[in-house]
Amino acid sequence: MLLNHLNPLFIKPTAMIKKAKLFAKPILFAVFFLALTIFSFAQGPGRITGKVFSETTEPLVGVVVQIKGDKSGGTTTDKNGQFTINVNNPNATLLFSMVGYQSIEMRATDNMFINLKVAASTMEEVVVVGYGTQKKETLSGSIATIRSEGIATTKSTSVVSNIQGKIPGVHIRQQTAEPGTFNSLVSIRGFGTPLLVIDGIPRDGMSDFERLNPEDIESISVLKDAAAAIYGMNSDNGVLIVTTKKGSRGKAKITYTGYYGYKQATSMPANIDAYSYRVIKNEMNANTKLPVAFSQTELDKWKEGTLPGYQDFDWFNEILRDYTAQQQHNISISGGTDQMTYYTSIGILSDDGILKSDIQKYRKYNFRNNVTFSLSKDLKATINFAGRIDNNKSPQGSYFWFFKPLIIADRAFTPFVPGFPNNVTRIPPEFTNPYALASEEISGYEKWSNVQYQSNVELSYTVPFVKGLRLAVQGAYDGNINNWSNLQRAYFQYDMVTNVPTVRGVNRYSNSMNQFSRAVLQATANYKKTIAGVHNLGLTAVYEMRALRNDIISGNRQYDDVYTTDILNQGSLTNAQNGGDRILQRYLATLGRLNYDFRGKYLLEMAFRNDGSYRYAPSKRWAFFPSASVGWRISQEPFIKNNFRFISDLKLRASYGAMGADAGNPFEYYAGYRFGAVNTGYVLTPNVLTLGMVPPGVVNDNLTWVKTKTANIGVDLSLWNGKLGVIADVFRKDRDGLLANRIQSVPNTFGASFPQENINADKVMGIEMMVSHKNKIGGVTYEIAANATLARKYLVYSERAPYQSSMQRWKDAWGSDRILGREWGYIYDGRYTDIRQYQNAPLMGGTLGNSMMLPGSNAVTDVDGNGIIDGNDQLPEFWSGQYQGFAGNPPLQYGATASLSYKQFDLNLVFQGASMFTIFASPNDVWGYGRYPGLWEKYLDRWRLEDPSMNPYDPAAKWIPGRYPALRANFNNTTDALTTDQWRINATFLRLKSLEMGYTIPNDILRKSGINGLRVYVNAFNLFTFSNDLAKNLDPEREEGAYQADLTYPLMRSFNFGMTINF
């Protein structure tokens, strides 16, 4: 029923978006509102009974139950958590309160079930850790937690962006905002991609995490140090543990959350019009000593802009939207009885691209159903099921090859041949047409759909005859079916002048299907005991099996003249191709943990894990990972308690542990023949290709997991009952046995490729800190927190071919004993302002000497002082932004959150930023000047002649200075393109990641509507950025992408309006 209401809205969202104007959006919510009111219930006055539980469903004794506004005192719950109270007013509100718990208001109904949450301020908070939970106060590892309220303050299409800047030690960089692309870089303390655990089961990874429904998440725990070692071979980069929401006893609680937003690119350059470009082109040619490209008569016609063929066409405006839309809606129902609790939710997200052709669309549907049954007093069954369907459609080619032609398209060209509205033009220099590339009808599309389900069933048994012993067995089965297809259509492009057609592409449909499954079985034993009232003991033992399987099948066919539909069978047989594969993986583990504390003061945790991986030779399969941590709660000591009462909590922590990474190609120990590529086949008999099998290379019986040791020392401090909080950690992680192929010491006459071996080593060292403050002044409650993490990686040993010279060794940024991420470049030393300076300036080298240099060119330091500027004058000057072609997470990242509430208003701010990296604004890239018939507007701020008719090489010519050197057709024999801080720009930034202002409508107003709570808010994401202007124009957070060309899909700034309704 509910879905039927929703469907018309979501089947054709684009139609909606097209028609709807910004302020027509509330209509959408009104429809939801109506749809949802059917779930509201009537109620009456009289004698009210109910039960109050803790979050862990223990009955709570002594909870004070009062009628709001009635000062008479009310009642308290009995030993079963039950209460009875008389109310006269049918709309009375009951107030439940108890020390150490958050107070709660509920409308009085009969047979109430109330859950009280532990108050965050008290130290009773329970934290999810690996294979269990622990009280926060007795934690001795470095574990950060964020709860649902904290996640919800940011609104974006990815959960990763929702937590960005909020958790100390978690580095996040969003590489692109391309809808349906989830490749944000997530790294705990700069280690690399962490392990993702959802509800106790290791799952798919960061892309899976990004696509979770944020509304379903109860909490996220981040295990940053040896606390992660309990995950053994997978824990090397730390662990993110997601716990999803569960139901609690009580009447069905229905919650709607949702927002609708507009978004725009944070960075989108502007280029200059066709006339200006031609004027500048002449300037470039003059500066490069090339003949004039456009005659004055030609220029006059362009300036006029009226003659056919002489009109400017603004490709950006015609192809891209200024704004696009996103929306997310979620409905959840939770509740329960003595026998059963449930949480069910359905979420929908839609995200549209910035192309006017409307081809780019991403849709996601999440479903989750978490149910817990109490089968008997001691036996509990939990069944969690989550499903997700998401699908995406985008242009047939990649965005890189879409943006490039768009940006370099000569604005003298129109999408269609004038007079022939169906003939798309063929636009030099790439001979493509952005309009055609963006059009599904003309060039095709790329689509994928993904169906995922994750399920787990747990049976847990509290052993009645051994107090404190709990046994559980949990099975999980996850599946993922991915269907990818690409339709490439051949089409004619027409010469804009002659209308002569040229065919582009071939008609080809490609389809691949990928079926993935994961089965996990866990058996757990937990034992808790307090001895003599002071020794608290906890034991955990787990046995875990994991089996993964992936089946892949793919095919493609060509279409002949007729395209019917995107089904392989509808293609032609002449060039049909197919492929398939199957991958099996198996893992086994046993693990154990001991927790001990003495009076909650001296803390000790010891754990081990024995891990087995199918990947390695039988003798190398098993790994043992021990870890330990200790803590001292100094604040519990009498000399603090008695003397420094303002110290509410002070804890010192230290941990050390061994971890691993299940790395390397599987079966390196196995000598077997493999089918080679097609060109290792041979025609032995006419017209028959015998595919060749290639003998095994060198096998390596010794390949094994990467060995990691991690150490952490930290302090937790809380003063004046949480008014000031500080958490600080220093950490170090050493990895040994990183994979590399043997290069040294083996001759190239050996003739086989070497297997991966555990050769390289690196280490990461860093510090992280979080400072928080919360208070209440008058009616204003506020909380601010700031965090920063600095993590630097050193390459301890890198397998290299022997260096030929000490210079080569010195210049190898990837050699041993190097800080990772330094980039070589020249030192900018101001500018030459007069052409005569070149007579004494260091030579650029080459046969032309300095004869191509002009005023405005960058001066660079001649480091070796030999009078010639060449490669030897470079120094490791810069932090890079990408490592070996891939975007990296900057070593220093920081964030801050602030929340404030006053009466019904609340305000949330999230700042986030990063430093110690650069972004490369390559002067040679496609935007650049000279190579392509397009120019960024920013380059107009250049060194130029006062009198453009003069010869630029005339010493008498007067120049107007600008930000950029004189524009040229090429940079040969100049310093202009050398890598200096003029092009490699410090990208340090701080951005207002999220700003949310909400208003909770008072309950008195809602009373008649049947609504229990309603909050409306406006939210902005990526609202603004503080950084170097040049970096800002490229968006410092976004990756430079292939060729460092900044042609990835831009990041987005969004403005959202939304609400949360409780029934």
């Binding site: 036996l379 023949y673 290792t680 003739g751």
Partner: protein
Amino acid sequence: MKKIVFYTLLIFTGLSLSSCKKFLEVQPLDRVPASQLLTDVNGVRVLLANLYSRVPMEDFVYNPGKWFSYYRESNGYIEPGFGTTFYTDESTASTGTGVGPTNDGYWGYDAIRQTNLFIEQLPQVAMSDQQRAGLVAEGRFIRAYMYFGLAKRYGGVPLIERSQEYIPGSDNANLFVPRSTEKATWSYILSELDSAAMALPTSRTAVEGQYRVTKWAALALKSRVALHAASVAKYWSRAPLTGVAVDQGLVGGMTAADATGFYQQCIDASAAVINQSGKGLYRPTPANRAEAAKNFQDIFQNPAGADVEVLLKKGYIDGQTTLLQGHTVDVFYNPSQTNPGGLYYGRFSPTLNLVDLFEDYSDNGQGRSVPLVTRLDGNENDVIANPVNFDVNKPYKQYDNLSDIFAGKDARLHASIIVPGSTWKGVTIIMQGGLVRQDGSKIVYTNGSAPGRDGRTYFALGASALSGLSAFHNIGANADQNFSCSGFSLKKFLQEGKNVPGFYFSSTQDFIDIRLAEVLLNYAEAAVEGGVGDPALAATYLNALRRRAAHTDNIPLSLANVLKERRVEMAFEGQRYWDMIRRRENHTLFQGSRRQVLVPVIDLRQPTPKYIFVRANNFYDERANGQNFQQWFYYRPIPGVSTNRLIQNPNY
């Protein structure tokens, strides 16, 4: 009830713990153990296919500037491959290629290791001793071919006859095999080919695969290798070098006696092939020149029909159905006017140097080349650097038609090269480079038109539209160099009757690696150079080739005659480059030289337009200041000397 559940849990946990070891035993699905593969002859075939594909045959998919089996760059870019011919004075590509030595970096030790493994593992396969011996011989042939590929590039190389074992963690000193002397390397290859020839079958059935080697292929390859070794031994001193590699005999250092010995081996191997293989020349006695030309063309456009002459060939599968297993000769090298639809085409530009070598049929019994007649004063040595500057008033001979200048030439010229004005695929191929206006001014290397005295309009490049011309367009430009830059285009190997689609890798005609004609020429050269064998027989072999090209005279055996005959007979077949290398002629003939082109020019000063022909240097060679071949280029630099501890060749 509770207890039941508890014990169930307990038992379940116990069970899962006990099955632990087996659970991790996953078999890799993408590889097959030797024990499974080496059980029968069919399993052996897939191993052979891999080894054959690694043979360094300089075939249609070999690019001497890149590598063997050159298909495309990682970024999708592709450039024409095809043998070493572009690095010689017989042809260039219209992009301007081959001004330096080839640089393929061949270092086939990976394939040698795989071949060693193959030979070592054969005893595991159940088969007859004879079958096994044949397969071992096949492996040794393949390995010898690989060592030949190394020896002719580097001189003496490490001879690794068994697969080596790498022990991780040890110092692996046993893996460092030093270079053998050049003489030992050549001797090793020759003796390996002898051994192979002894056990290889004399023919192949369809079941076995016709493209597999026979005894005769082994002996024919031996003939080639021995001639190469002998020539190096004899002429090494023409390009003397110094250094450690020389001192240790790793390069050069062979005596006259060594040369004679190698020549003798060439004679023996050649004679065995000629006399015992049952092979012969394809259609050795044509009735007339036209038939001779047709026969000669057919050998290459349809090698399957000329099997009688073929000793070793490579087959292809259409790249449209099996990606990367065809070749692209018909696409890259069809003249522009018959471009089958590819992006790159018309790029093969045979030189005037080669064209001039061909005889006519005046049958003087001397076998002298008859250069084209462009001048009335007989001065055919007037080759100008840039035809843009040619002097219209020199006594150029006037021709009525473009093709008249080629009338009466050797059938092999017409079978190997498309000349201006000739008919190809039913199209008159226009290759013209300029125009002389009525007033004597001229347009050269760029298109433009002028009226003739007959009132018609003529074009400098022969046609107004690009589709109507095949040469000299875009000379020196960086784009669309799809037009001959020499005034000639390739005909040998191209299929005239079959329309190949304009896709990459869609040609499937076989590549002939060794044919009997080469063996005959090897014999003749060994006889005349080494003073071994039977000179009378050698002369007979030489004249048999000429007879097949419709010559009726007999020429005497002389070095000049043998070499000239070799060039015209074997043009573009990958011989010329290695001939220049083994005979150490490249640094004297090639260094600083420019390849020549023929620029047909239409002369509108005459009442009816006439054609004149200007001899000029190749634009690109001129731009590169001639070709560069230093005397140490004969030995290529050994790759990886920083780690393999090998002694580097001189001057690197």
